[in-house]
Amino acid sequence: MVIKLTATAPQLKETPLNRLHRDLGGRMVDFGGWDMPVQYPAGTIEEHLRTRNHSGLFDVSHMGEIEVRGADAIPFVNRITSNDVSKLIDGQAQYSALTTPLGTVVDDLLVYRFSQDHLLLVVNAGTTEKDWDWIKSHHAGENLQLKNVSAEYCQIALQGPDAISILQQLTELKLADIKYYHFTTGTVDGVPSIVSRTGYTGEDGFEVYAAADKAEQLWTKMLEVGKAGTDTGVLPCGLAARNTLRLEAGMSLYGHEIDETTTLLEANLGWICKLDKGDFIGRDRLAQQKESGIQRRLVGFEVTERGIARDDQEVVIGDERVGKVTSGSPAPFLKKNIGFAYVPAEQAAVGGEIKIDVRGRLVGAQIVKTPFYKRAR
């Protein structure tokens, strides 16, 4: 077999936790220009299952943060994103997208509202520079300041049913009072932090933002109080587990399900398209598309024969090659092989039979409802 060695190029960017990842035996890979752990010695399956059953710790410091401050912060962000920022209250976060004039996606992001004149946009690592340029280029005289503060923050995600009890040991904040997709500020282990009840795993959990130079302290402390090293303790998780967790939870990954060629409606993200909120970039095209109907749609599928569907493999219906897999992987918790794919809208009904071209072999699959996995609440 051929082993693709991912030698670390010197120009890769590093998060403030890079040294600790190496100490923990993380296998480092180039992820969109960042030197990141794809897995630790426990392995992807164990990391995934531990997060579902107990808790997992993820370094997501590579994500970008862009601050928007000023009287026009809300109208400005409302004009460049598809969801309705005016609906947010202080201390609330919102999943949204930066849209192109075509209704396609520059990036997906979280919009945090601290106050009426202070928002924080959390964007993907690989697109931070592009987003920053895009956002600046659309700033047209509104009364506000933009600041790319990505390097100032670390971001650590503690996810899973045990996340709340672990994090509670480190803070006076009443974590149970923070509602899903809300956040608050306070100290964690004495470190001023933003504590957000959000995540990318389909589990309950928190994302903690703090000054980059406090990353090692917070990470180490969370492992310690989370009883890392025991069978049910918190487990550091790499990018591979982050991907399988989000896939089971039915969440899109930028560059896979969504990009500048896919519209929000095609990607089943109509729920973040608030066409009635007033004008925003791409609104007219999205309204038009909603009216005329989409040609293709993103669907979830489950492989029903032996084989694993992988990214970019073709979808075959009848004799026709009708679309492509955007993410395909084994699902460690569900113990199935699942994926997302684009198919013609008229063939996107749940229950539909499709085939995936797995390296020349046509493997049967069925369109299923997403999310694939939903935690019991």
Partner: protein, 130 residues
């Protein structure tokens, strides 16, 4: 450090070969399984299929990736490890034992001599890492 048993022969594609007369048992090395991560699926050929030297005879899939596996020696498949269908993780836990993949009746047993010894393979993986 990855386990590299003395009595086996190795390819630069990280397969091992155990020779018994003109029968070669083939699998992937400890170093290879460790690089791959959790193996979740192994695809092997059918008994009777014939392969030339260094031909792809199947694939090993981890959660993250697919890797082809190659025949270090030419010959016809006489037996496949059927237990890998239900227990692909054997490739991780016991790469040189329960994780074997195929047995081949070698068409040219002399080919084995061109493979790496354990010491040579160890040096090769060290060099590849650097």
């Amino acid at each position: 450090m990855a386990n590299v048993p003395e009595d086996l022969h190795y390819s630069k594609d990280h397969e091992w070969v155990r020779v018994d007369g003109d029968i070669a048992t083939i699998g992937i090395t400890d170093y290879a399984q460790d690089s791959l991560g959790d193996v979740v699926y192994v695809e092997v050929p059918k008994p009777g299929d014939e392969f030339a030297t260094n031909e792809s005879f199947g694939s090993v899939e981890s959660v993250k990736a697919v890797s082809e596996v190659f025949t270090p020696v030419s010959g016809a498949v006489v037996e496949i490890n059927e237990s890998l269908a239900d227990e692909p993780e054997s490739v991780n836990s016991d790469p040189y034992g329960k994780g074997w993949m195929i047995r081949v009746k070698m068409s040219n047993p002399g080919e084995v001599d061109s493979l790496l010894t354990a010491a040579e393979y160890e040096d090769f993986t060290k060099a590849e890492k650097e």
